[in-house]
């Protein structure tokens, strides 16, 4: 789960990491109120959306007077950045930046541990920097036990360029605190970019990203509170609430409903292989009961991009008759107009075939043949 910048900064503060003075505003009035609370109304106004590239989209701007605060905040609020409409902005005091650096901790699955990434060059894409100037990016491998050991930070900081040596202590403290947050909150990523040094020598987290391990949300209840309706795609949100694994894909028209993540990905791949375009990834997850199948079908039916529905079930433990029941219920209740291709194979498939044939629904037994049919149907309608 990704946090908004203002939420990340709230957590930073809780862990003693200095952030600029600021607050989130849901309206122009609130933005003005925040600006007025500062000694001077010189602020930066930042769109709070869970997507990258808000700077390029014009979602981050300086305002140097209350008039500008009003004008700019009203411009940014309501702005569309990628698929998201901006509902809230962060209003912060402007900082006098002397130096921008980069600091993050990530889960490093490939080394079964963690990694700290630090650079004296901040405010840039770190992956880009790592590719073009790898010597400017320092990495530290951290083992779950013993965790981060102080000398590892000393080693990194010993390589600071001479003009930055005087900030070593401040950076050291930020590293320790960010690591503490990273571990205690089960984060998969905590990033400060840029970590700024102000003209009076303070280290401040000027922008921040935090992602939390979804599997660990149960023990980070405070983080769950950070989930806001506007930050999610509505279909993805509904799917999550119904315990379905669903990802909306751009530009597709074949809605997929599959049991199992691997088979669901494969289904998309096979559709693409035969020239079609999947509109989504949908994995029913473990329990493919009738009700569950119906919920899943509803999400696909509600997706206006979808013209053809492809149901692909391999009944290993899942019973095909229950899936058929779910399909029939959905047909009745949802009044599905879209074309539907069904592939069912496995446990109780014979029963399922009979149930569906009674309703004149034909069924495929092989994934490939079914996929070809779905692609054909989707193209016929596309024309």
């Amino acid at each position: 789960m990704n946090l908004n910048e203002f939420q990340a900064k709230e957590l930073f503060s809780k862990f003693g990491l200095p952030v600029p003075n600021g607050k989130v505003a849901w309206s122009t009035e609130e933005a003005l109120g925040i600006a007025k609370s500062f000694p001077e109304p010189k602020v930066v106004i930042k769109a709070q959306v869970l997507t990258g590239g808000r700077g390029k989209a014009g979602g981050v701007k300086l305002a140097n007077s209350l008039e500008e605060v009003e004008k700019i905040s009203s411009e940014i609020l309501g702005m569309k950045i990628k698929e998201f409409t901006v509902k809230k902005v962060l209003v912060e005091e402007q900082m006098s930046i002397e130096k921008e650096m980069y600091l993050s901790f990530i889960q490093d699955r490939d080394n079964r541990g963690y990694r700290m990434i630090f650079s004296e060059e901040g405010g840039v894409e770190i992956e880009e920097l790592a590719r073009t100037q790898p010597d400017k990016v320092m990495m530290v491998q951290i083992e779950p036990f013993p965790g981060l050991v102080p000398f590892q930070l000393r080693e990194v900081l010993s390589k600071l360029s001479p003009e930055n040596k005087k900030h070593a202590r401040g950076i050291y403290q930020m590293m320790n605190k960010l690591y503490k947050l990273f571990i205690e909150k089960d984060a998969t990523l905590t990033e400060i970019n840029p970590l700024i040094i102000t003209s009076d020598g303070k280290c401040i987290a000027c922008d921040g990203k935090i992602s939390i391990d979804n599997s660990a949300l149960y023990r980070n209840k405070d983080v769950i509170e950070y989930r806001l309706p506007e930050d999610e795609n509505p279909l993805e949100r509904e799917a999550r609430e119904k315990q379905l694994n669903y990802v909306k894909l751009d530009g597709g028209n074949i809605g997929c409903l599959v049991n199992g993540a691997g088979l669901a990905m494969t289904t998309m791949d096979v559709i693409k292989h035969f020239g079609g375009e999947p509109a989504n990834f949908l994995d029913l997850g473990g329990g493919a009961k009738a009700e569950h199948v119906k919920n899943a079908l509803k999400i696909i039916v509600d997706d206006d991009d979808v013209n053809t529905i492809f149901i692909n079930i391999f009944g290993g433990i899942v019973r095909c008759d229950l899936v058929a029941e779910g399909i029939l219920n959905a047909k009745k209740e949802l009044d599905i107009k879209k074309e539907m291709v069904i592939r069912l194979l496995g446990t109780n498939d014979k029963i399922a075939y009979e149930m569906l044939e009674k309703e004149n629904i034909s069924v495929f037994t092989a994934m490939t043949a079914a996929a070809k049919e779905a692609v054909k149907l989707s193209k016929q309608q596309g024309v």
């Binding site: 699955r109 079964r112 290993g316």
Partner: protein, 292 residues
């Protein structure tokens, strides 16, 4: 021979009080698997539900009384770390974790704790494993498998069944099929299982089912190129998955340009692995590899 489990495996099931656990226990018993005990802190009876399996509240008892040598874990995610540690402390050397949704940090700790030890952990977030005709430890549908000489390693469940169905239909039975699970941090990786298949005389070829995310398929490619002596065919799911999105499995995510299907496919091909474009190709690929 076979790997990890066989007809003499003595399995204790942790998290045996739940409906799901008991359903699968009964399926495993029907398959002929030796389930020696069910463990759950909630147990207040001597037997597991309607089954003729002794019930205990601690694993230690099951090991002491029934010489359990393998543990199968159905415990809910928040308690799975504890259950795995319990198995480790009881001296269990084979731990199969079905549970989905275990925090990555918990698995990291367990990986570090078992570093350099001879313990085999399979999973989490996996369907378990099966040595056809001998022993089934997990939730795989036994009827689609057939005894034979193809080793299968897979990161996903239903895709495995799909492909095993093709194999079985093509007359290609399996030595052992191992679901290593869809999590970012796995108890056993492709390489770990490949090493076991390399040493298993009954395995003549291996099918590897990978997917996007991480670099374990690439590490497997390195291992296959340098050390593996048997033919391998592979399929990688997720060629059409967008970057930055988790595709059902917690581990199936392309991040920072790493973990793409393309990278994995080309690494495997360079290592001499026959990579299938769609699942239907696998059986033929294996056959032609075996005839080489």
């Amino acid at each position: 021979m076979s790997i990890i489990i066989n007809s003499s495996s003595r399995i204790a099931v942790q998290g045996a009080a739940g409906v799901e656990g008991q359903f699968h226990m009964s399926e495993m018993i029907k398959y002929g698997t030796k389930i020696v005990a069910g463990i759950d802190p909630a147990f207040q009876t001597d037997k597991v539900g309607d089954l003729d399996v002794p019930a205990y509240t601690t694993l230690k008892k099951a090991v002491e009384e029934h010489n359990a040598d393998t543990s199968l874990i159905f415990v809910p995610a928040p308690f799975a770390y504890d259950a795995i540690m319990e198995a480790l402390y009881c001296g269990i050397k084979k731990i199969i974790v079905i549970t989905e949704g275990i925090p990555v940090n918990d698995m990291m700790k367990i990986k570090q704790y078992t570093k350099g030890s001879d313990v085999v952990i399979v999973g989490p977030n996996c369907p378990g494993l099966i040595t056809p005709g001998e022993c089934k430890a997990g939730i795989l549908p036994g009827h689609i498998f057939k005894k034979g000489s193809i080793g299968v390693i897979s990161r996903s469940g239903t895709l495995t069944y799909e492909i095993v169905q093709h194999l079985t239909e093509a007359g290609l039975g399996q030595s052992t099929c191992v679901g290593i699970g869809g999590d970012p941090v796995q108890g056993s990786t492709f390489v770990d299982i490949l090493k076991q298949f390399n040493a298993d005389d009954d395995t003549k070829a291996v099918v590897m089912l990978g997917e996007i995310g991480g670099v374990e398929e690439e590490k497997a490619a390195d291992y296959i190129r340098d050390h593996f002596t048997k033919p391998v065919a592979a399929f990688i799911a997720g060629k059409s998955a967008p970057p930055g999105k988790t595709m059902g499995h917690a581990g199936a995510i392309i991040s920072a340009g790493k973990g793409t299907a393309e990278a994995k496919i080309s690494a495997l091909k360079e290592a001499g692995v026959a990579v299938a474009v769609i699942p239907d190709d696998i059986a033929d690929l294996i056959k032609s590899e075996l005839n080489k």
